[in-house]
Symmetry: C2
Subunit: 237 residues, 2 copies
């Protein structure tokens, strides 16, 4: 099953080339247009995009640091499989951090923040009916807003950087997750923040983030080739 999500692979010859190549290749990997195991070759991609090897090579360095590809010197360069342990522990880190963020917000109970969040909830309910793709973006926005409201923009950037593996899963499972329930959970988090019920708000957020991996075993079963080191015992922690 190939996901034909739109991938923007045009680029501007006058602007800096490397960042554009990076954006394109990263997007192709995360959206599974380049599935795990795909061999990437510097000269091959250079021909394909009509640039020299250098920008491709610099892109490889960045993608390798992100864990999206693995460069084996003098051998070859491959798109990595989605590492199951990495996905699980990314989720663990994210839960820990977002729990503390929500705790801060619930202690403060800032009315302006709550109003902004309620607006977003409205939007989420609207797009939930139409486009799941749009919903992903709304969801990202919701969590980012929480972090920013707590004054943790930089911390949130960290979290985003370790989400590339989780994003790959997300695009695999596009259309499987229970959108309405997620909106419901978001709503409860906002409610508790407004009522300044700290432990309840934290618990609601933790529950919400644990759901992210609820369907994981099924997703893995449907796309076994995409995953590495799958171990059902690791699910709970």
């Amino acid at each position: 099953m190939v996901h034909q999500l739109f991938i923007d692979d045009r680029f501007d010859r006058d602007a800096a080339i490397t960042p554009q190549i990076y954006r394109i290749l990263r997007e192709r990997i995360i959206k599974n247009n380049l599935p795990p195991g795909t061999k990437l070759s510097e000269p091959e991609l250079a021909r394909q995009y009509e640039v020299s090897r250098q920008p491709i090579r610099e892109t490889f360095i960045k993608l390798a640091e992100e864990g999206l590809i693995i460069v084996r010197p003098q051998r070859k360069t491959l798109v990595t499989k989605i590492d199951f342990k990495t996905v699980m522990q990314s989720r663990f880190v994210r839960e820990a951090v977002e729990a503390d963020i929500v705790a801060l917000l619930a202690e403060a109970g800032d009315g302006d923040v709550v109003r902004e969040l309620r607006d977003q909830l409205q939007n989420q309910r609207k797009v939930a009916q139409s486009s799941r793709f749009d919903f992903i973006n709304e969801d990202l926005k919701f969590h980012r807003t929480l972090a920013e409201a707590a004054g943790k923009e930089i911390a949130w950037k960290f979290i985003e950087s370790l989400n590339s593996q989780m994003d790959r899963v997300r695009f695999l499972s596009l259309g499987q997750f229970p959108v309405d329930q997620l909106v419901e959970e978001h709503t409860r988090v906002v409610d508790y923040i407004e009522q300044q019920k700290v432990p309840e708000a934290v618990a609601a957020m933790r529950t919400h983030l644990q759901r992210l991996i609820g369907d994981l075993p099924q997703i893995v079963r449907e796309h076994e080739d995409f995953f590495d080191r799958f171990d059902p015992d690791l699910i709970d922690t």
Copy 2:
């Protein structure tokens, strides 16, 4: 005040060059041998280490991603100042994650883990008297051991990766922090883990990690040129 910590800048001409250049430059920046604002030039460093510009350039890419240098195209490349907000929020992330790790350990109350940790505490008390440099390494080991015991090695690698900024502070303040008190705090964390007192263990760890920035205002005062965006109001959160 220049810290004359040993920096190993030898390298093996037969092994791959780029990783060695990366290690050397990264170490020089973190140990403040290349202070913030230092201009780095590809051809200059290439001459200095007798390699071509290419490995230097690839190293620049990695250091820039880590936030240790900033590359301004066609202008110049500089060692960044220590970003105060980044340090604060790195600490915030670290506290959130380590709190959850300790919670897991305290719930489990694994005797083998406790024994290993007690051995390390002995070591910490020993080196506390002699070398503060060795103590830093023991401290790193202690926290890493906690993460690994909870089965969160990958999460810990992530934490380490965002520690580069905090490490720079650490090397600035080398010799200022109250070693005995830190060992004392470690001990309390281990005690609570053994007794399976979850909230107490978590609280002890949070207190311990908040101390990391206790001296920060003073360190900033003593090394103003090394810091950016210092704001005392950000200390508490």
